[in-house]
Amino acid sequence: MSEVLVVDDSKVMREMIGACLRPDPSLAVTQAASGLEAIERLSLQAFDLVVLDLNMPDIGGLEVVEFIRGQDKLRTLPILVVTTRGEDASRASVLAAGASRYLTKPFTPEAILTEVQSLLGGPT
C-alpha cells in the first residue's frame, strides 16, 4: 500500500485527482485542503508521495516543497507538482526547490496515474 497525500485548496480538484488514482487499488489517498494542513500532516504521518498544487492561500506549493526538503526525514519524499498554464516561473522555482516532477492542467486521468506510479517505482 502506498500512502499518497493530495494537496489542493480546491475540493473538486482533490476529488478529481482522487478519482484519477482510484483505478490503482494499491494507492491510499489522503487529502489536505491547504499548504498548512499538508505540512502538518507530513510532520505527523509517513507518506510515500505528495501530489501538490502550486497556487494556494497562506502557504503556496513552493513553500511546502521548501519545508519538505528542509526536513531530514522527508528529504527523499517524491513530490509531483500540479501547475496551470501561465505558471512557468513558479514551476521553474518549485523544481529548483526540489520538486520531483510536474504536470500541467489539464491532464488526463491516465497521465497523472502514470506519473504517480512511476514516481513510486513503477506500476505496483
Binding site: D9, S10, K11, V12, M13, E15, M16, A19, C20, R22, P23, A33, S34, L36, E37, I39, E40, L42, S43, L44, N55, M56, P57, D58, I59, E63, F67, G70, Q71, K73, T84, R85, G86, K105, P106, F107, P109
Partner: protein, 677 residues
C-alpha cells in the same frame, strides 16, 4: 475502470459559483480601498488566486472560454500587483465585466449549453486594463525606512517586501504584531486543534500576515519537528488571542508594539459605498460560527436528557408516587430550555444590512453594462436573520436585481418618452414580520412585466393574475429576451430564485406588476432554518431523509450472512457480522410501524448508526436514493420528542418528507430490548 472528469461538472459549477461570490466581494473591497486612497495588495493577490483556481478547474473539465477569460483577468491583476497593489478604476471595471462573463459561462453550462466565447469588446477592455494599470490612482505614501519597525531576524527573513510593508502600515495604524507558536501533535489533532482550526479561530480577530512553518529538532512538545509561527496584526491583547485560539498564553507574544503615526491630513470623502470590514466595536465580540453550532449540539443533548427525565417521572407516577412537585419543575425546565434555545439561535443572527450592503456594486456593474441610469435605495430597518439564511438569500437578490435592471427598466430615451425621470429607481426594503419571517421587497419603476409576451414565450394563455404570471415566469429556461444579452445571459433565473426561496429556505415568493409603472417582488423567508446534509432513502415504499453525520456506514445486506437470534419484545432478533463485530439488524419499516416485519433482505441495504461509545445498530432499508442538503422543519415543539422522527422537509417536489432520527430510534429499541430482557 474508466475515469471521466466530465462527471465532476456539477461539483465544478458549485465550486466556481463559490469562488465567483468571493471575487465579487473582493472587487467591492478593492473599490472601497480605491475610494479611500488605499492600495489593496492582499485583496488583489486573493483575487489572482481565485481566478487561477477557476482557470485550472475549467481546463480540467474542458471549458475553454472560461479558461481564456480567467487567464486574461489574472494577467490584469498581476500587472496591478506589480504596480504597487493598486487596481485603477478602468481595470476594476474590466474585472467586473470579466466576472460577469464567467458568470454567464457558468449559467450556460448549468443549462447544458456551451459557454459563450469572450466578446471582442471584453478582450479589448481587459487588454487595455493590463497595459495601463492604476495610472489615475495615487499610491499611498510608503512608510519611510527610518520609521520601519524592526522584526526578529528569524521571521523577518521569511517575509516578502509587501508583507513587511503591511506590518509597518498596521503598526502605524495602532495595531500590534503578535506571534503565535503552534506545534501540531496527534493529541491536539484529537482534540480538534490543528493549524487549520487555529487559523480559523484567530482569523476574525485581526489580520493574519503570514503563517511560517519552522523546522525544529523533534522534541516531546513538537514531535513532528515542526512549529508554525502565526503573525497576527491585531488590536486584541495576547491573552484574548490565546483564549480564542485555545492555546497556552505562553505561546502568544507581542513582537512589535503598536506605534501610531500622527496622521498628516484627514481627508473627508463622501462614501456612497459602505466599509466592507466593520470595525470592532466595544462590547461586540466576534465568534466563530462553529462554536455556536457546537453549543446548539450540546443543547440538543440537554433536550434528549430532559425527555428521559420526563419519562422517568412518568414511570414514578404510574408506580403510584406523588409527582406533582416534580411535574411543576419539569414545566419550568421545559420553558427554560425553550428560552435557552431561542437565545442561542439569536446569537447566530446577523443584520440584514450585511447582505444588502453588497448590492450597490451589483447595481453599479449592471448600470454600466446596460447603459441605463439606475439609483439603488436600500432600507434595511435593522432587521436580523440567521447567518445561513443571509448567505443563501444573496444570490436570489442578485438575480432579481439583474432582472429588474435588464428587463424592467427602460433605456433613458424610452423613459423620457414615457415622461419618467431619466434615473430609474430600484428600492430594496426589508422588514421582519412577527419575529418568524423576514420580508424583502424589490421594487422597480420600470415598464412592468409584459404578460402577453411571457405567455407567448411559454406557449400558454395570457395569465389573468399575478400569481399565474409568476408561475409562468418560474418555468425553467423561460426567457422573454430574444437575443442573448450581456447581463442576464438568457434571462433565465426566476426558476433559480424560486428554488432558493421556496425549496431552499422554505419561504414564499410573490409578484405584483403594473404595465408602465413597475414591478415588485416580495420574498418572505424564515429568520432561522436548520440545513443538514442528508441521505434520501426508500423504505417500505416511502421516502425518508436521514442526516449524513448520523450514518457510520451503508452496507449491502447479504441474506446468507444474517443470523437469527432469540425473539425478544415481540420481535425476531437478527444479527450480522461486520469486521469482527456483531451488529443487530432492525427492519426500519417495521420499527416505524409501516408494515409487517420483513423476512427477505435480498438486494437491500442497511444504515449502521452508533450512539456515542455504544454498540452499533443497523437499520434495514430498501435503498439509499441519493444525498442532498435539506432544510429541516421541526414537526412540533422540540421538547415533545417523537422517537424516530425529528422533523419534515421538502425535497423539491412539494411533498413533506419525514426526517428520521435513527439515534433516537436506536435508543428506544435498546430500552425495549432491556425492558424485555
Amino acid at each position: 475502470m474508466q475515469v471521466d472528469l466530465r462527471e465532476f461538472r456539477a461539483a465544478y459549477l458549485a465550486e466556481v459559483d463559490e469562488h465567483l461570490g468571493a471575487i465579487n466581494a473582493g472587487l467591492l473591497a478593492v473599490e472601497v480601498a480605491n475610494r479611500a486612497g488605499r492600495a489593496s495588495p492582499r485583496e488583489l493577490r486573493e483575487l489572482m488566486r481565485l481566478l487561477h483556481t477557476i482557470k485550472g478547474l475549467s481546463a480540467m473539465v474542458g471549458i475553454e472560454p472560461i479558461v481564456g477569460i480567467a487567464h486574461r483577468m489574472e494577467t490584469v491583476l498581476r500587472a496591478a500587483d506589480e504596480a504597487g497593489g493598486v487596481l485603477g478604476d478602468h481595470a476594476l471595471e474590466a474585472m467586473i465585466q470579466g466576472t460577469r462573463a464567467i458568470e454567464a459561462g457558468v449559467r450556460a453550462i448549468a443549462h447544458d449549453e456551451p459557454a459563450p466565447e469572450a466578446s471582442a469588446a471584453l478582450i479589448a477592455q481587459l487588454d487595455a486594463a493590463e497595459a495601463a494599470p492604476a495610472s489615475e490612482q495615487s499610491l499611498p505614501p510608503p512608510i519611510g525606512d527610518a520609521q520601519r519597525p524592526e522584526i526578529e531576524p528569524e521571521i523577518a527573513e521569511k517575509l516578502t517586501a509587501s508583507e513587511r510593508e503591511e506590518v509597518a502600515q498596521g503598526i502605524a495604524a495602532g495595531r500590534h504584531l503578535l506571534r503565535i507558536d503552534f506545534a501540531p501533535t496527534p493529541a491536539k489533532a484529537e482534540r480538534g486543534l490543528t493549524i487549520t482550526t487555529l487559523r480559523e479561530r484567530i482569523l476574525p480577530l485581526g489580520e493574519l500576515v503570514r503563517v511560517i512553518p519552522l523546522s525544529r529538532a523533534a522534541t516531546e512538545s513538537a514531535p513532528g519537528g515542526l512549529v508554525f509561527a502565526l503573525l497576527l496584526l491585531t488590536e486584541a491583547s495576547a491573552e484574548i488571542i490565546a483564549e480564542a485560539g485555545g492555546v497556552p498564553g505562553s505561546d502568544v507574544r507581542e513582537i512589535l508594539a503598536a506605534r501610531p503615526l500622527p496622521r498628516a491630513v484627514e481627508v473627508n470623502r463622501v462614501e456612497d459605498l459602505p466599509e466592507v470590514v466593520e470595525a470592532q466595536r466595544p462590547g461586540v465580540l466576534r465568534v466563530d460560527v462553529g462554536r455556536i453550532d457546537d453549543t446548539i449540539e450540546k443543547l440538543s443533548g440537554l433536550i434528549v436528557t430532559r425527555s428521559r427525565l420526563a419519562r422517568a417521572v412518568g414511570r414514578l407516577r404510574e408506580g403510584g408516587a406523588d409527582t406533582r412537585e416534580l411535574e411543576a419543575i419539569m414545566i419550568d425546565n421545559a420553558r427554560q430550555l425553550r428560552d435557552l434555545r431561542a437565545a442561542i439561535l439569536r446569537v447566530r443572527m446577523i443584520p440584514i444590512a450585511t447582505v444588502l450592503d453588497r448590492l450597490p456594486l451589483v447595481i453599479r456593474g449592471l448600470g454600466r453594462s446596460t447603459g441605463k441610469h439606475v439609483r439603488l435605495v436600500l432600507d434595511g430597518a435593522g432587521a436580523e436573520l440567521d447567518k445561513t439564511v443571509a448567505e443563501r438569500i444573496f444570490p436570489a437578490l442578485v438575480h432579481l436585481l439583474r432582472n429588474a435592471v435588464d428587463h424592467g427598466i427602460e433605456s433613458p430615451e424610452e423613459r423620457a418618452r414615457a415622461g419618467k425621470p431619466e434615473h430609474a429607481t430600484v428600492t430594496v426594503t426589508s422588514s421582519s414580520r412577527n419575529n418568524r419571517q423576514i420580508e424583502i421587497r424589490i421594487e422597480d419603476d420600470g415598464r412592468g412585466v409584459d404578460r402577453a409576451r411571457v405567455a407567448e414565450k411559454a406557449g400558454r394563455d395570457v395569465p389573468t393574475d399575478n400569481h399565474d404570471l409568476l408561475e409562468l415566469l418560474c418555468r425553467p429556461g423561460l426567457s422573454t429576451r430574444d437575443a442573448v444579452n450581456t447581463t442576464s445571459g438568457r434571462g433565465v433565473g426566476m426558476d433559480i430564485v424560486r428554488k432558493i426561496v421556496v425549496e431552499g429556505l422554505g419561504g414564499e415568493l410573490a409578484l405584483d406588476t403594473t404595465a408602465g409603472r413597475g414591478t415588485i417582488f416580495l420574498i418572505r423567508v424564515p429568520l432561522t432554518i436548520a440545513i443538514v446534509d442528508s441521505f434520501t432513502l426508500r423504505c417500505a415504499g416511502e421516502r425518508f431523509v436521514v442526516p449524513v453525520p448520523v450514518v457510520e456506514e451503508i452496507v449491502e445486506l447479504d441474506p446468507e450472512k444474517i443470523m437469527r437470534g432469540p425473539r425478544a419484545g415481540g420481535r425476531q432478533a437478527r444479527f450480522f457480522e461486520r469486521r469482527g463485530e456483531t451488529v443487530p439488524l432492525v427492519d426500519l419499516g417495521y420499527a416505524l410501524g409501516l408494515g409487517a416485519e420483513s423476512d427477505g433482505f435480498t438486494g437491500k441495504q442497511a444504515l449502521v448508526v452508533r450512539r456515542g461509545h455504544e454498540d452499533p445498530v443497523a437499520f434495514a432499508i430498501d435503498r439509499v436514493l441519493g444525498q442532498q442538503e435539506t432544510v429541516v422543519r421541526p414537526l412540533v415543539d422540540p421538547l415533545v420528542v417523537v422517537a424516530g422522527v425529528s422533523g419534515s422537509t421538502d425535497l423539491g417536489d412539494g411533498r413533506a418528507t419525514l426526517v428520521l432520527d435513527l439515534l433516537g430510534l436506536s435508543a428506544k429499541l435498546g430500552r425495549m430490548r432491556k425492558d424485555a430482557a
